[in-house]
Amino acid sequence: MDALLLQILNGLDKGSAYALIALGLTLIFGTLGVVNFAHGALFMIGAFCAVFIQGLLNLSYETIDETQKDFLGNPLKVKTPYLENWFGPETGGAIIDWSVPLAILFAIPVMIAVGVIMERGLIKHFYKRPHADQILVTFGLAIVLQEVIKYFYGANPIPTPAPSSLTGAFDFGVLLGFDPNAIIYPYWRMIYFVFAIAIIGSVFAFLQFTTFGMVVRAGMADRETVSMLGINIDKRFTMMFGIAAAVAGLAGVMYTPINPPNYHMGMDFLVLSFVVVVVGGMGSLPGAVLAGFLLGILESFASTTWATTTIPGINQVIIYVVAIIVLLTRPRGLMGRKGVMEE
């Protein structure tokens, strides 16, 4: 029982990332009809927003310490962050310590801008082209974005820790009456899950309860009729692209303490996120979220020792096996709508 709960918990944070990325993908597909293979790169750029803010907050001045030597035997140059100099070591250190949460404030406008520029500058030229063209151009864009990040930050992962007060793990086992250490779960992963739920809830609320959202939903259902009513639906869809980019970016920002970001991290999520979208049902926002969590938890179960010894390699194929089963039994996915990608 405790192992069962443990793997469900483990699947939740992975599922959160899948759900957030798949939600953005579905928003873009549902509004603009574009299959965006650059969406993983948006997740990665979001993560590097956190890296950038961490670097910015750590900007330092150098002083020479004659008592210590560097690797060449010269007096050591000691770096002190400006923030610690301006606000004192405690306050300055605390601001630096909270660089990841602070990066959220930076990432939102940056990611919206990146999304809008991407849509206006490149993707809009491919609306009427076949999906294969869209996939090729967005995949190419993803590789370009990757290489740009690698040029500035290198190929190695960059440590981007959570605030020190949010590190460590909670012993759920004791809370639920199991043995100590039976169900351990890191605080930051819990925060990631709650954050993902909040973002998903906000997106749904935005679409459901605002006039802007109502127009977007109407446009998703019947773009031509909405346009005939004199509404500039293209402008709203462009904004939705920006919002989808921001969702992916925020997922990336918050993911950085879980695994140190590197330029390739978007690709690691991209293919799985597409599977999530297909399983959830093309164009279905609730389907994307449901499938994200479902596949995250299934992947977690498939990685247990029991599963890998019973069926070797199951951890590497489980998502695809489930995708095949779902598509065979429900060709439109779990919550897919009739007519989407069926023309």
């Binding site: 405790d2 192992a3 443990l6 793997q7 918990l9 483990n10 699947g11 944070d13 992975k14 210590q68 560097d70 690797f71 060449l72 050591l76 000691v78 690698k150 290198g154 190929a155 190695n156 992962p157 960059i158 440590p159 820790p161 590190t167 460590g168 793990a169 043995d179 250490n181 039976a182 351990i184 779960y185 890191p186 930051w188 992963r189 303490p257 879980i258 695994n259 140190p260 590197n262 390739h264 991290m265 690691d268 992947e299 977690s300 990685s303 247990t304 020792t305 890998t308 951890n315 590497q316």
Partner: protein, 446 residues
């Protein structure tokens, strides 16, 4: 009719013989592949320039360029000045100027073979060196054996490289999984006691398998029990599903047989799950990383503090050779070299020196010169290139993540220099292919 037929056959036979003769003679004139012509010799540096190990590849390339500069008489000469063999005088190799070409392994076996093949066939490389992964090293070593080219391996730590997959044309300066285990186990037993239960997470490819086998054997010999070994796919990015069950598995040590990005993520995840703050079996829970790369350990940040592991070389070593190399490299590039850079630089000097001592670029002469070669002054103390398997035997470093680093490069500290005698093993050791493992014959190519 029949006379005509015979005549025609005779003509054909004569033609075939006529065509074949110059080829045979050409083979005799060029008795080995890519015999240097025109006063210059080309070396092929095959490193990961893209992909997850690109930063390590870039550091290897810096070291190679420095080695070429030193061989051609440029710079301060680096470790040429401290090398016990004195054949290198700044006049290239055998008086020929050293030039180089580079290839991108992408850390993929097929891409590494393709780039090595291109450098041999199109660029005329006489020697191939490099790599940052055992699977690519083994793949390229096999190709070089077939092509009649010397392969001086870069960073490759799998026992198989000089074990079951050893080749007469291939040489490894870097240490291996067995040596890591032999050096690390006594330190682990001393630090954590002999009554320990270890849980292994292992990267599912040649390096991971041999590393796990080595560390398990060495620790079990000192009283530890290996209670589980879970293979993790090389492409894994999140290890939480593998780490979560560790705490209630009965283990009190987690051994991460991971390298590079895998190591960074698995160690980060293990620390996130609070493993180091827990107790198991009445003892503090410990984590071990058998193979450290200082360059990549940076990615794990503060999580490496206090974690024990092993490394081939470290820039803080106080011997003259290491100091000379760090000075050359640091002055040129502004930061200290990695262990990958060190082994690549050393391999280039060793090859050049072997050619000079042999008086020939012929791969078989180079093999003869390197086999059983004893040297010093290249950063690891007295070293032997063993003839039986082409593996270097030298001291091994046990390191741990530094608690109070003074700079971004000051990540690891050496806790013990394990003497060479402690990490030696017979060439027919079962972990290295046993009695069946063979170098085969040297291939000069052409």
């Amino acid at each position: 009719m029949s006379k005509n037929e015979l005549t025609r056959r005779s003509m054909l036979k004569a033609g075939v013989a006529g065509l074949a003769t110059p080829t045979v003679f050409a083979g005799a004139a060029y008795s080995f592949t890519n015999d240097p012509q025109g006063g210059a010799v080309t070396l092929g540096f095959n490193v990961p320039q893209t992909g997850p190990y690109a930063d390590e590849g870039a550091d290897e390339l810096r070291a190679y360029q420095l080695a070429v500069e030193h061989l051609n008489g440029g710079g301060d000469g680096g470790m040429i000045n401290t090398f016990s063999s004195k054949t290198l005088d700044g006049n290239g190799i055998l008086g020929q100027k050293v030039e180089f070409v580079t290839g991108d392994t992408q850390t993929k076996g097929d891409a590494a073979r393709a780039s090595a093949k291109s450098m041999i066939e199109k660029d005329g490389a006489i020697m191939i060196t490099g790599g940052s992964s055992s699977s690519t090293a083994i793949a390229v070593q096999g190709l070089c054996q077939e092509a009649g080219i010397i392969f001086m391996a870069g960073l490759t730590h799998s026992n198989d490289t000089t074990g079951k997959d050893r080749k007469a044309n291939g040489f490894r300066h870097f240490f291996n999984g067995y040596m890591s285990g032999a050096a690390l186990a006594p330190v682990l037993a001393n630090r954590y006691g002999t009554d320990r239960k270890a849980y292994h997470l292992t990267a599912d490819y040649t390096w991971g398998w041999t590393q796990q086998e080595s560390i398990a054997n060495s620790t079990e010999a000192l009283g530890w029990e290996t209670i589980n070994n879970v293979m993790t796919p090389l492409a894994s990015t999140d290890f939480s599903s593998y780490i979560a069950p560790v705490l209630n598995s009965g283990a009190d040590v987690l051994v991460l047989n991971h390298y590079g990005g895998n190591m960074v993520n698995s160690l980060t995840n293990a620390v996130q799950f609070g493993l180091r703050d827990r107790e198991a079996n009445g003892k503090n829970f410990e984590i071990v990383v058998p193979l450290y790369s200082r360059l990549m350990a940076r990615g794990a940040g503060e999580n490496v503090k206090g974690i024990l592991g092993s490394t081939n070389w470290h820039w803080s070593l106080p011997d003259d050779g290491s100091k000379a190399f760090v000075r050359s490299f640091g002055t040129q590039y502004g930061f200290p070299p990695s262990q990958a850079a060190h082994t690549c630089y050393v391999q280039t000097l060793l090859y050049a020196d072997a050619v000079n001592r042999a008086g020939s670029f012929n791969p078989c002469a180079v093999v003869e010169a390197l086999e059983g070669f004893e040297f010093d002054g290249l950063g690891n103390g007295p070293t032997l290139y063993r003839a039986d398997d082409h593996q270097c035997f030298k001291d091994v470093l046990v390191v741990q993540g530094k608690e109070n680093p003074t700079s971004e490069f000051d990540i690891l500290e050496v806790v013990e220099v394990t003497p060479r005698a402690q990490v030696e093993y017979p060439a027919d050791h079962p972990m290295f292919g046993g009695a069946e493992a063979s170098l085969g014959s040297c291939n000069p190519g052409a």
